[in-house]
Amino acid sequence: MSGEGAAEGGARGGWARARAALVLAHAIAVCLMALPSPEGMSTEALAGDAVKRSALASWEGALARAGVPETVSHRWIVGIAGGLTGLDRAVERWLAPYQRIAGTRQSWQMFSSSSANGFLLEMYVAEGGAEGGAEGWRLIYRSLDSGARWRAGLWEDGRVRGAIFALSSPKQERLWRGLARSAARRAALDFPAAARFRIWRVPVRAPAPERLAEEGRAARTPVGAVVVELEALRGAGGGAGGGGS
């Protein structure tokens, strides 16, 4: 082999080694980043989270039936969760730049909880200056209701649904009102005679399958009600936020 050829072969060998190292680094990084990070399993966090407490209790109950005392299983579960969370934070610290630039974030907590609790999104307009009594409101949109489909394509878009679900948290009250005003601006355009717009969520709970026929989705009192005066929005050319109540 000539000197030039040997140099070329050496360069190729160097690249092959570098490439193998980089691929290995990527594979290790994504495996580490994908480890679960069960945050919120500390004793303090559990005290304020009924859903997690209930999930934890169900596992402790199952382990107790298998002969593991609840105090022991509690220590195991919280200990493993704490260890994984600590590892995740360390990995995050080191690999954040790689995640940010290459889009390699690994968080696969999808449908980890499939709760029986949910809500129907409902929107109404009141026309003709009627006061806000039950008889004055006309339903224009309700989740899964084939008779009330105002801008259903928007509210039922997968990304929009995800955001509306996130906004149902009490911590997101301010943003929920922002969404209500944005929906009201659209209603002001689509229902020129309407004076007010109302949006709320009707909590529902799935009964056991054998009771579904008689109970349906057990609807409860609406929450997150926001009423917006549409005239104010029209006066501001549709661009200003309306008054919520």
């Binding site: 060998g13 092959a16 999930a55 889009g103 999808m110 801008r151 943003l175 944005s182």
Partner: protein, 342 residues
């Protein structure tokens, strides 16, 4: 790493560990690029289609529009990353970036400068998905991880406009197909990614609804509670209780154990090159086809019955990575795997 079409070359370098030599040889392997081309086409169409659907529904203006710029938004956003560099998350900038990202994804799908277009689409997606994480989810990470691998995959070698252009002077005119081998390691990293997604999402399904002592009601709840359900199935779900319990158990077991597909593929690869490991007897039952069939059914059902954004099309777009061209029933006999495969 697969196929035995073009064998890897030994390192002969300064690193002398046997495992390292095997790894380096594996990373040097090449194979026809059909699988990665199909992934490229699927991911490109899924990313561009998602942006088009999101814009068309009005969701983009609602979720990514800043109220300081557009009356259709609902909140303000802080600016950083690429959008900060472009002058902020103004609605005009967001629309422009969405257009560029969607076009890059389409050009990538068509196979025109696929590596560069994957990088443009990736950076656009990272910036756009980061505007309002409330409107995102696991599907966004599926897209960006796949785009990152497609940046390096040489996936335009075949089934691409680039291939057609490159072979335009060949006898008979331009061809859509070119079986010139490309590096196999990006396909293996996609398989690793698939295994991580499914296994990790499975092991984190710890809420009681996924367990026998919680009644295995997760799928029933998902279809009945109107957060994700696309249709009102309440009139039928009551009678389908046992079926939905089975679906819950099967989908959880399938997800948790999906890593077995990756292990099976590695084992097959090892057998093709090194023979059976000492003490290992018996043939290799193809786990992959069964898992892929269940996965396809699972994703098509989710797609039809729930509204989860681009999750199902993106995941299905990665499935071709599980199959080498020579694994397909109609594969050219000349591309069949070595005889060591059982």
């Amino acid at each position: 790493m697969s196929g035995g079409i073009v064998s890897g070359r030994g390192s002969g370098g300064i690193v002398s560990g046997r495992l390292w030599r095997i790894w380096e040889g594996a990373i040097s392997e090449r194979e026809p690029g059909t699988a990665l081309a199909l992934v490229r086409i699927g991911v490109g169409l899924a990313v561009a289609g998602d942006l088009a659907v999101f814009a068309g529904s009005g969701g983009m203006a609602l979720m990514w529009g800043d109220t300081r710029d557009t009356a259709e938004g609902f909140r303000t956003f802080t600016e950083g990353g690429l959008l900060g560099w472009l002058g902020g998350a103004g609605w005009g900038t967001v629309q422009g970036l969405s257009l560029v990202t969607g076009l890059a994804a389409l050009l990538m799908a068509a196979g025109l400068w696929p590596g560069a277009m994957a990088f443009v689409a990736l950076q656009g997606c990272i910036a756009l998905y980061g505007i309002n994480p409330m409107a995102g989810g696991g599907h966004d990470r599926v897209a960006t991880n796949a785009l990152w691998l497609l940046c390096w995959a040489q996936s335009g070698q075949t089934l691409s406009a680039g291939c057609r252009w490159r072979t335009r002077h060949a006898p008979g005119g331009g061809r859509w197909r070119d079986d010139t081998p490309i590096p196999a390691w990006p396909r293996w990293l996609m398989i690793l990614q698939l295994c991580l997604i499914y296994t990790m999402t499975g092991v984190q399904k710890l809420s009681p609804e996924w367990t026998p002592w919680g009644g295995l009601r997760a799928v029933y709840n998902m279809l009945l509670v109107p957060i994700w359900a696309r249709w009102d199935l309440a009139p039928w779900l009551g009678q389908a209780g046992p079926l939905l319990m089975a679906a819950t158990a099967i989908s959880l077991l399938w997800e948790v154990s999906f890593g077995a597909v990756g292990l099976w593929l590695v084992r097959r690869w090892w057998r093709e090159r090194h023979g059976a490991a000492p003490g290992v007897q018996g043939g290799l039952r193809d786990l992959r086809t069964g898992y892929a069939a269940v996965g396809a059914l699972f994703h098509l059902t989710l797609w039809g019955l729930t509204s989860l954004g681009p999750f199902s099309p993106l995941m299905l777009a990665l499935y071709p990575a599980l199959f080498r061209p020579q694994d397909w029933p109609q594969a050219d006999q000349g591309m069949k795997a070595p005889r060591t495969m059982s």
